[in-house]
C-alpha cells in the first residue's frame, strides 16, 4: 500500500531532469544516424555509439538516483517502513527510467529494419537493473556510479575488442558478453560459443538471479550510520 509513495519519491528525483532529457535526445539521434549508415558500414558504429557510449551514460543518470549515502538510506528506510518498500521503490523508478530510453532505441532499430536488435536492446533493461540494484546494496554515489559505468561501458568495450579476433571465444567470454554487451554479442554472434537465443535466456536468468540476490541482501543488510 505504501510502495507507490516510494516509487513516486524516487521518480520525483529522476524526471523531469534536463540532463536526462538532453541525453535521451542524443541517444535517439545516435541510434538513428548509425543505423542509417549501417547498410554501408555495418553495425560496428551502432554498437559503439549506443551500447558503449550513450546507453551507459543514460544508465548512469538513472542509477545515480539510487546510490545514496548510508544516512539518506537510513532516513528512507524509516520513512518507508523498511527495506522492502525502499528496494521496490528504487527498482520500479529505475525500470521506468530505463524503459523510456531503451524502448525508444529498440523502436528506432525496429523501424530501420533491424528487428534482430530489438531483443538484445530490451535485454539492457534487466541487465542494467540487476547491476544497479546489486551495486546499490553496497556502494554509495561515487563508488556506485563509477562501478556501473565500468561494467556497462569499459567492459563491453573490452569485449568488443576480444570479439574482433578471428577465433571463437570461450564460454566465459560468451556469457559475460551476453550479460554486459548483448548488442555487441548479437552483432558478433558468429564468434560466440552459444546461440543468441540461449545467450539471451541465460543473460535474463542471471539478471533475475542478481535482482533476487540483491533484494535479499538489502533486506538483511547492517547499516553503520
Amino acid at each position: 500500500m505504501y510502495t507507490p509513495k516510494a516509487v513516486r519519491w524516487y521518480l520525483k528525483n529522476m524526471f523531469p531532469h534536463p540532463v536526462t532529457e538532453i541525453l535521451l535526445g542524443l541517444l535517439i539521434m545516435g541510434t538513428w544516424y548509425t543505423l542509417t549508415d549501417a547498410t554501408r558500414f555495418g553495425l560496428y558504429e551502432f554498437v559503439v555509439v549506443v551500447e558503449i557510449i550513450f546507453l551507459p551514460i543514460y544508465g548512469v543518470l538513472i542509477a545515480s538516483h539510487l546510490f545514496r549515502s548510508t544516512r539518506v538510506t537510513l532516513f528512507e528506510l524509516s520513512l518507508f517502513n523498511g527495506p522492502e518498500n525502499v528496494f521496490i521503490g528504487r527498482l520500479t523508478a529505475s525500470f521506468l527510467g530505463l524503459l523510456i530510453g531503451v524502448s525508444l532505441v529498440s523502436l528506432v532499430s525496429y523501424f530501420h529494419g533491424y528487428s534482430e536488435l530489438v531483443i538484445p536492446i530490451l535485454l539492457k533493461i534487466p541487465t542494467y537493473l540487476s547491476i544497479m540494484m546489486t551495486l546499490m546494496t553496497w556502494l554509495d554515489f561515487l563508488g556506485g556510479t563509477l562501478s556501473f559505468y565500468i561494467l556497462t561501458s569499459a567492459v563491453p568495450m573490452a569485449l568488443l575488442i576480444l570479439l574482433s579476433k578471428p577465433y571463437p571465444s570461450s564460454l566465459a567470454v560468451t556469457l559475460v558478453a551476453y550479460v554486459l554487451a548483448p548488442i555487441g554479442a548479437t552483432v558478433k554472434v558468429a564468434k560466440l560459443t552459444l546461440s543468441a537465443q540461449a545467450g539471451y535466456i541465460i543473460a535474463f536468468a542471471i539478471s533475475l538471479f542478481l535482482l533476487v540476490f540483491s533484494y535479499n541482501v538489502f533486506r538483511r543488510k547492517d547499516f553503520r550510520p
Partner: protein, 271 residues
C-alpha cells in the same frame, strides 16, 4: 521499557566500537552520555536494529531489536542529520508521511517545528537546522514502541532545541545519545555513561543526584570558593561540600547559582 545488554561488543575491522558492555536499565527515557568515539552511536545502531553485534546480545523489553522482523515500524530512529542530496521538496516529504497511517502526529510536529516556513524548499537546499528538523519529523511523527535519537538537537538553535527536548521528555520508550549535559538531565530518568566503548557509570536520577557534590557558578571567575574543587569549567565548578557550605557561599554573594552536580560530575569522571 527494560533495556539490557550482556557482554555486548561491536567490532569494526580491528577496532571495537563497544566492548563487553553489560547494563540493565528499567526506565522510560534512557540517555547515553559520552565523548566523541565513546560508542554511543554504535550502541544506538544495535538498539535500533540496523546493526548486529559481534559478541553478546542486546534486548529491549525482552526482544533483540536486530532480530525483530517488524523493527522498522516498532523502532523509529533519527541519527545525526543526513546530508540530503535529494532535490525533493519538503512538502513531498510531508505528503509521504501523511499517507502513512502510522504517522498520525505529522500536523502537530509541523506546527511545533514551524516547518510550514520552508515547505516549498528542496531537501538539498535546507540549512543544517532545517534538515535536522526534517530528520526528526519522520521519527517523531510516527508511532513506535521505541524511539531512538542520536544528538537530536545538534544543529538546532536553543529555541527549537528547547521545543524538541520538551516533546521528547513527554514520550515513553526513548533512548537518546547526547553530549549535552543539560539535555540529558532534562529528558532522561536513567543514564549510561560510556568511555571508549565501555561503561563507566550507570544509574537513575536518584543515584545521580545522591552524592554530596555540587555544581556551582561563581559570580566571578576569580572568586575563591574555599571548598574542595573537583573539576573546573571556567566560572562553573564541580565542588565537594556540605549543603550548609554551599548555601553560605550563595548567601555570601560568591555564587550566581547552585545545583546538585549530577551528570556533569559523572561525565567529567569519564574524561
Amino acid at each position: 521499557m527494560i533495556v539490557r545488554a550482556e557482554n555486548l561488543g561491536v567490532k569494526y575491522g580491528e577496532i571495537w566500537g563497544i566492548r563487553d558492555l553489560t547494563f540493565k536499565a528499567d526506565t522510560e527515557r534512557l540517555a547515553l552520555i559520552g565523548h566523541n568515539g565513546s560508542g554511543k552511536t554504535t550502541l544506538l545502531s544495535v538498539l535500533s536494529g540496523i546493526m548486529h553485534p559481534t559478541t553478546g546480545r542486546a534486548e529491549i523489553n525482552g526482544w533483540e531489536p536486530y532480530r525483530r522482523k517488524d523493527k522498522w515500524i516498532a523502532i523509529r530512529y533519527s541519527f545525526e542529520k543526513p546530508d540530503f542530496r535529494v532535490p525533493i521538496r519538503v512538502k513531498d516529504l510531508v505528503e509521504t508521511l501523511r499517507a502513512n497511517p502510522l504517522c498520525s502526529n505529522i500536523d502537530e510536529m509541523i506546527e511545533a517545528f514551524e516547518i510550514d516556513r520552508f515547505m516549498e524548499e528542496r531537501l538539498n537546499s535546507l540549512s543544517s537546522g532545517q534538515a535536522q528538523l526534517c530528520n526528526l519529523l519522520v521519527a517523531l511523527s510516527c508511532e513506535s514502541e521505541v524511539l531512538i535519537l542520536d544528538e537530536p538537537t545538534a544543529h538546532l538553535d536553543s529555541y527549537r532545541a528547547g521545543i524538541v527536548d520538551d516533546i521528547i521528555s513527554q514520550k515513553n520508550g526513548v533512548i537518546i545519545a547526547t553530549h549535552d549535559i543539560e539535555e540529558g538531565e532534562s529528558i532522561a530518568d536513567y543514564f549510561l555513561v560510556l568511555k571508549e566503548g565501555q561503561k563507566v557509570w550507570e544509574g537513575d536520577r536518584k543515584k545521580l543526584f545522591s552524592e554530596g557534590i555540587y555544581e556551582v557558578m561563581l559570580t566571578d571567575v576569580k572568586v575563591n570558593p574555599q571548598v574542595e574543587t573537583i573539576y573546573r569549567f571556567g566560572s562553573t565548578l564541580i565542588v565537594k561540600a556540605s549543603r550548609e557550605e554551599v548555601v553560605r557561599m550563595f548567601l555570601g554573594g560568591k555564587l550566581l547559582g547552585v545545583k546538585k552536580a549530577g551528570l556533569r560530575y559523572v561525565y567529567s569522571k569519564s574524561r
